[in-house]
Amino acid sequence: MSTTPRQALGNLAGLGVLLAAWVVYAVYFSPTQGWTFFLQLTVNGIILGSIYALIALGYSLVYGILKLLNFAHGDVYMIGAFIGFGVLTLLGGPLSPAIPVALLVLCMFVVAMLGSGLLGLAIERFAYRPLRDAPRIAPLISALGVAFFLENSVLLLFGANYRNYDGYDLISFNGIHLGGSAGVFVSYLGLMVISGALLLMVALIALVRWTQFGKAMRAVSFDREAAAMMGIDPDRVIASTFFVGSALGGAAGVMFGLLYSQIYYLVGFLAGLKGFTAAVVGGIGSIPGAMLGGLLVGLIESWARGYLNGNDADLVVFGVLIGVMLIRPSGLLGTPALQKV
């Protein structure tokens, strides 16, 4: 499944038209009219979408290189959240941190990303590599098995109780008001999530576009055998890709914990599904697609929750997935198609 650049532009134009129509309806014709409410929901959606984008990137990276849907990725994100919580607790907790808050948050991210990355390496090595030449269904089943294994391991080790990051106590309940006190509110935590996610996405793009490793990733993704013949070790590249994707998932887990406070052993299930939806909507295997898809899913969820009943948000999000699959099976951006010259 692939999309030509022209098709991708066409998809984006179509999306732009739909979004414009939606904005007009929401602001001027919906029961809850007004720019402030719409913009508040949009800001909320961008924050949420940033987290989904990081999860979606993990799915897209792995799919791009192995054509494998890593259904355990949502649970790697969950474990990243738990690792971050562990670091937070070890270093004094949100109310009495033993080190400066900025340093504490940095430690949480670094350790969670490292831990999740190593977990990703282990999953690739033991659950997927032996099945690389097996029929496609085998690694898929293995992925599902790993997902359940991780969930139940966390349940066994840490119990079913929720853990609360108390992120607002750690960082701040404050934020900025755009347009006055009755305007759009963006918390400092939300700003941190958006900027952190942007930073990681830019770093990933730089890694893929401008480094030797990124070149090797693209080569293996394009043709594994040819890459091996060129002297690239595909096993090493694939393992490193898993590390990077899982590290992004771990970062997303910490952001989620800080922003939405509660984590438990099943928190990766729905987030993983939505991250997967985002990757598919954007075009599975495409890095820009994953980012766009994540943002879109976050926005759609936020708008649905705001303009419809709370029941309907997930219905709309997964309805969009079905719609995109029917109209554009390769997603909005997909992977670039070969053009005959």
């Binding site: 309940f173 939405y260 406070s261």
Partner: protein
């Protein structure tokens, strides 16, 4: 062609044989379940009761509180020397409330098939009670819940008739909604209340009941819902007008209420007070100072309660306390039935003893006896609590 026909006939014959074999293999199991229902059980020195609770899944937090309180009762009972020949063994079954009521049915069937099982504590959720009633009834097992509060469970006709089988050691939602609405309108004098349910039948029932009463008293209300798997409440919070005085959240999961309260404050709407239900009675988990909560009362000064709190590092886990009383009801019923039967009893006899329960004192702070419907007799009622700065829930009504 002939070979194909022969193969088809052989395959059909094999299928018929396999089905017959499977059916006859099942028959002993079905016979076992029905024989367990009516069998006379030799009591022995260890009697078995079951506990159906959400040990895993989204409601595992409250389910494990119930299990710990029930086990706490069993441990105290078994520690008494006089009970050396009437000890209790508690077998737990995981109903995974919030995932699928099929798990509750599975637990009910397994309890019913266990020939030694004499009574059950639970299940926790009203939807689980409805789903598993047939299984308990066909197994002739009495079941006493410490948390299923839907009013219609004891009316004798809605979604099944479970009179004589189902009892509860908590007041029902029909008492909770008026208690909440009364406090909001008469004491707090709220005129604008936002109501958010968590899409579970427990929550929707309470939200509906409270909203109806508030509307009838001229209070402006708006209604929304969240799901138990939701973590981001920012869009829901954006909908709440800043001039509303209170938000009623009759939810089952206290960590959600805590996260919601924090996000509400972060959005600049912390001045709007939260009002929860008995599912949120979780000191140490839900800590938003100034919030209100309705919960079944308990005797906080009781030494048994104090000992539990001390043993659990200051966390009383009071949502599970009625399950202690439920386990107590089952245990006393089993013991009396065994005594009356001179060392033998049946599930029917145990149910009769449950119906005749008369606890003159209980951890709930009032005597426990049951009406014919399965409800507790007066003075069972809900109390109103407020969260203090130190996180404690203080009774204020």
């Amino acid at each position: 062609m002939k070979n194909v026909l022969v193969a088809a006939v052989l395959a059909a014959a094999l299928s018929i044989l396999a089905t017959a074999a499977w059916g006859s293999a099942k028959a002993p199991a079905r016979a076992a379940a029905s024989s367990a229902a009516t069998a006379t059980v030799k009591c022995g020195s260890v009697r078995t009761i079951g506990m159906a609770a959400p040990i895993t899944g989204p409601a595992a937090d409250i389910g494990n509180q119930q299990v710990r309180w029930a086990k706490y009762f069993v441990k105290r009972w078994n520690a008494v020397k006089a009970h050396a020949h009437s000890r209790i063994k508690l077998i737990t079954g995981d109903t995974q409330l919030g995932v699928d009521t099929a798990f509750a049915v599975k637990v009910a069937k397994s309890f019913a098939s266990n020939s030694k099982m004499l009574a059950v504590v639970g299940p926790a959720g009203s939807q689980e009670v409805v789903a598993s009633t047939d299984s308990y009834k066909s197994g002739r097992l009495g079941f006493v819940s410490g948390s299923a509060t839907r009013v219609s469970l004891t009316d004798g006709h809605t979604a099944g008739n479970r009179i004589g089988y189902f009892y509860r050691t908590v007041p029902n939602d029909g008492q909770q909604a008026p208690a909440v609405a009364n406090w909001m309108t008469k004491k707090l004098k709220w005129k604008r209340v936002y109501i958010i349910d968590d899409q579970e039948t427990y929550s929707q029932g309470l939200a509906d009941g409270t909203q109806n009463i508030l509307k009838s008293r001229g209070v402006t209300t708006q209604r929304d819902s969240i799901s138990q798997t939701q973590s981001d409440y920012s869009s829901t919070i954006a909908k709440i007008p800043s001039n509303y005085q209170g938000i009623y959240i009759p939810w089952q999961l206290a960590p959600q209420a805590q996260a919601f309260g924090q996000q509400l404050a972060a959005a600049g709407k912390g001045h709007i007070k939260l009002f929860g239900s008995d599912g949120l009675f979780a000191p140490g988990v839900w800590k938003i100072t100034g919030s209100y909560d309705s919960a079944f009362p308990f005797n906080a000064a009781n030494p048994v309660v104090l000992a539990y709190v001390k043993a659990h590092h200051g966390n009383g886990e009071f949502f599970g306390l009625p399950s202690y009383v439920a386990a107590q009801v089952d245990t006393l019923a089993v013991t009396k039935a065994c005594k009356a039967g001179h060392g033998k009893t049946t599930r029917a006899a145990v149910r009769k003893q449950i119906a005749k329960t008369k606890l003159t004192t209980s951890l709930l702070g009032f005597p426990v006896a049951f009406q014919h419907s399965g409800e507790m007799k007066a003075p069972a009622a809900f109390g109103i609590y407020q969260i203090q700065k130190n996180g404690a829930f203080k009774r204020i009504d």
